[in-house]
């Protein structure tokens, strides 16, 4: 183990790393990736619970904090808020219903059901006053009526203050989707899903690819033939078809609805590119003097492979990890769109897929949020991959 560690240590303090550390863009990208990892980790340990991403946080398709709402939408939103309280106030056990009423951080204002009902009726009057107008956006008179209505609606609820209030405004800061769920919280939760999928599938793929590729390159002969046959086979099926066939393999099985079909599909199609690259690199390394020296000392072939050859492909493993991470995040979106990806959980793919219908109505908050969150992470990984390639693999086509 110590020799592996020192090889990794050498890798981290080597020339490539020093070159990487001078690359300011790469450092920014690393910092961004670090923020995403922290975010994913804190969502993973319970920053957001299922209620935050599945329960209603407000009316449908509310635009975010700096979005412009037209009068029509403000009116229907007010109607929604009034109806919620009215339904609770008219329930058979009104007192309990009112106490239990909450969505997002809002709860009903304190008061007996009769008091609340009076407030509701008052709000309906204000509502009718606005609804009598046909054109809601031009007239300043209507604007003031709308403001009164919204004040009355606010009176129906006990707005959270302090920390809870901050959470509440955060919850609505990017608006709500078609089912009234918080877009920001769903996008944040999706970060966890994306990071999870990216890390698991990229890590396993790189490990499989490295082991098979290194074995093929080092041992040659029938091992090499087998590995080359295996990856030629997998890579002769168009990538998206392979993903679909693999993901649909699990349908109806015990793993349906979990992320396991996604992992399996990604790992089985992603191991090919690291395998190919590392096989080529190991074939070169095999002929170097230090490897011959090791075998002259009498080290076994497995030991040479594990301790002297594989650690020297670390840079390729890092580059491939970074590239496959991007691949996994993008492929997740496509698989989720095709109905074979993430289920029972929000993810950027699920969000973009749901946003199709909203886009047709001119509502861009959900697709925008998912795209932005994804863009920043993928961009950071793209920059990092380029920098890694520049630093460690200067001959690679694609570097400057």
């Amino acid at each position: 183990m110590t020799s592996t560690n020192s090889a990794l240590g050498k890798f981290l303090s080597g020339r490539g790393m020093r070159k990487l550390r001078r690359d300011r863009m790469a450092l920014v990208a690393l910092a961004v990736i670090g923020v995403y990892l922290l975010l994913a980790l804190s969502v993973g340990v319970g920053l957001l619970d299922k209620g935050d991403v599945f329960d209603r946080a407000g009316p449908d398709t509310v635009p975010g904090a700096w979005g412009v709402q037209d009068g029509e939408k403000r009116l229907t939103d007010a109607e929604f808020y009034i109806e919620q309280v009215q339904r609770a106030a008219r329930a058979s056990n009104a007192e309990d219903s009112l106490a239990e009423l909450r969505f997002g951080g809002l709860r009903a204002a304190p008061g007996t059901p009769a008091e609340v009902q009076a407030q509701v009726d008052d709000a309906w009057l204000a509502f009718d006053a606005v609804a009598a107008y046909e054109e809601l956006d031009e007239d300043p008179e209507v604007a003031s009526l709308l403001t009164t209505l919204e004040q009355k609606v606010e009176g129906l609820y006990a707005a959270p203050t302090g920390f809870a209030g901050a959470i509440h405004s955060l919850r609505l800061s990017l608006g709500t989707d078609r089912q009234g769920r918080s877009i920001l919280f769903r996008a944040l939760y999706s970060t966890k899903v994306a990071v999870q999928i990216g890390i698991v599938s990229a890590l396993i793929s790189v490990l499989i690819g490295t082991l098979l590729g290194a074995a093929a390159g080092y041992f040659g002969g029938w091992v090499d033939h087998m590995v080359v046959w295996l990856y030629s086979t997998f890579s002769s099926i168009p990538w998206i078809v392979l993903l679909m066939v693999l993901a649909s393999m699990f349908r109806g099985g015990p793993f349906d609805g979990t992320l396991i079909p996604v992992y399996a599909a990604f790992c089985m199609s992603f191991w090919i590119s690291p395998c190919r690259v590392i096989r080529g690199e190991v074939m070169k390394l095999r002929e170097l003097e230090y490897v011959q020296a090791a075998s002259a000392i009498g080290f076994g072939r497995i030991r040479i492979l594990l301790k002297h050859i594989i650690p020297n492909t670390a840079h390729l493993m890092f580059i491939n990890f970074s590239l496959l991470f991007i691949g996994a995040i993008k492929a997740e979106v496509i698989l989720s769109f095709l109905g074979l990806g993430v289920k029972n959980e929000p993810s950027w793919g699920v969000m973009i897929n749901q946003a199709k219908a909203e886009v047709l109505n001119g509502f861009f908050w959900q697709i925008g949020a998912a795209t932005f969150f994804m863009l920043v992470l993928v961009l950071a990984f793209n920059i990092l991959s380029d920098a890694l390639q520049d630093a460690f693999d200067p001959k690679h086509v694609g570097s400057q």
Binding site: W229, L230, S232, T233, F234, S236, I237, P238, I240, V241, M244, V245, L246, S248, M249, F250, R251, G252, G253, I326, K330, V333, I334, F337, L338, G339, L340, W348, G349, I352, N353, A355, K356, V359, L360, I367, T371, M374, L375, V378, L379, N382, I383, D386, V397, G398, S399, Q400
Partner: protein, 316 residues
């Protein structure tokens, strides 16, 4: 040359046999008949469907059955969801829609991205090069699906709502006259997305090529920069460029699955997607087997053409 071709052919036979094996195993992890007929199917129904397709036989017999069908190009099996429709007809019908999107998209993408790459490589390191490359990287970081959604929204949906009938929101009609209406928008979206990837690759190829000795020689002999760029370099950069274009050819048949699904274009990608959704086992099996076959044949062709262009390849 002939021995090279023979070697390539021999080498690819076990690969194709492997694909069939893997495909058949993957499709049998869940009993396809059970999945298709659902929970309420009677045992008699299940046995009947199974016997019809030969699924009750030993795996090895099924394997050779499929192999024989592929070798003789006999795809007369009927689809499960479209009764009476043979898979061979489905294949024939869906080729044209697929190709009418992918071929124009490939041509457009290649022309545009090679031009941008040339500009970028010519102005290497200058602001224009940097801007183009930043645009390419940022563009690559957005999901294809987002481009499709917004492309359809802006290109077709908004225009249609305003009364102009420039592009269809979806669907397909054969015929050249109908092509722009149904296919141009998907082609443009596909081109836009692919240009980002290809430009980066082509620029890298050209930058690599521009550091070779023959370029230094040409410059030393006094050839002007533009001539070195477009005459000496482009000619040599064409080899990797042609390789890249040729390696994308097999994917043309497959079509742009996402575009076809989103725009309701009845191409091969969409047919396969629907078959997977509806658990239409015979269609999935044969479509994937055919894709892989086409892929391998065109791979061999690419290798042979490449060997013709570059004699060094034959020796390795």
């Amino acid at each position: 040359m002939w021995s090279y071709i023979a070697r390539k052919l021999l080498y690819n036979i076990p690969v194709y046999l492997g694909i069939l094996l893997f495909l058949m195993l993957a499709l049998r992890v869940n009993d396809p008949v059970h999945a298709f007929l659902g929970k309420n199917a009677t045992d008699a129904d299940i046995l009947d469907v199974r016997a019809k397709l030969g699924l009750d036989q030993a795996f090895i017999y099924q394997y050779f059955d499929l192999l024989r069908d592929v070798l003789t190009l006999d795809f007369s099996v009927e689809s499960w969801t479209n009764e009476g429709l043979r898979v061979s007809d489905m294949l024939k019908r869906s080729v044209i829609p697929s190709i009418s999107i992918t071929v124009p998209a490939l041509v457009l993408t290649s022309i545009i991205s090679i031009s941008i790459a040339l500009i970028s490589a010519f102005f290497r390191g200058r602001p224009i090069d940097r801007t183009l490359m930043v645009m390419a990287v940022v563009g690559m970081s957005v999901s294809f699906l987002v481009y499709i959604i917004f492309g359809q929204y802006w290109g077709a949906y908004l225009l249609t709502r305003e009364g102009s009938d420039l592009f269809a929101i979806g669907g397909f009609e054969p015929g050249l006259a109908n092509w722009p209406y149904y296919c141009l928008l998907p082609v443009l979206i596909s081109t836009f997305v692919a240009t980002g990837y290809d430009t980066r690759f082509y620029r890298a190829v050209m930058v690599e090529e521009s550091s070779r000795d023959y370029i230094t020689t040409a410059k030393a002999k006094g050839a002007n920069r533009r001539k070195v760029m477009f005459v000496h370099m482009l000619k040599n950069a064409l080899i990797p460029i042609i390789t890249r274009i040729m390696t994308t050819l097999p994917f043309l048949i497959m079509g742009s699955l996402l575009l076809e699904v989103y725009f309701n274009i009845p191409g091969m990608g969409r047919v396969l997607y629907k078959a997977i959704q509806e658990q239409d086992f015979p269609v999935v099996q044969i479509f994937v087997a055919v894709f892989a076959g086409i892929f391998i044949v065109s791979n061999i062709l690419t290798d042979v053409l490449y060997a013709l262009v570059d004699p060094r390849v034959r020796l390795s």
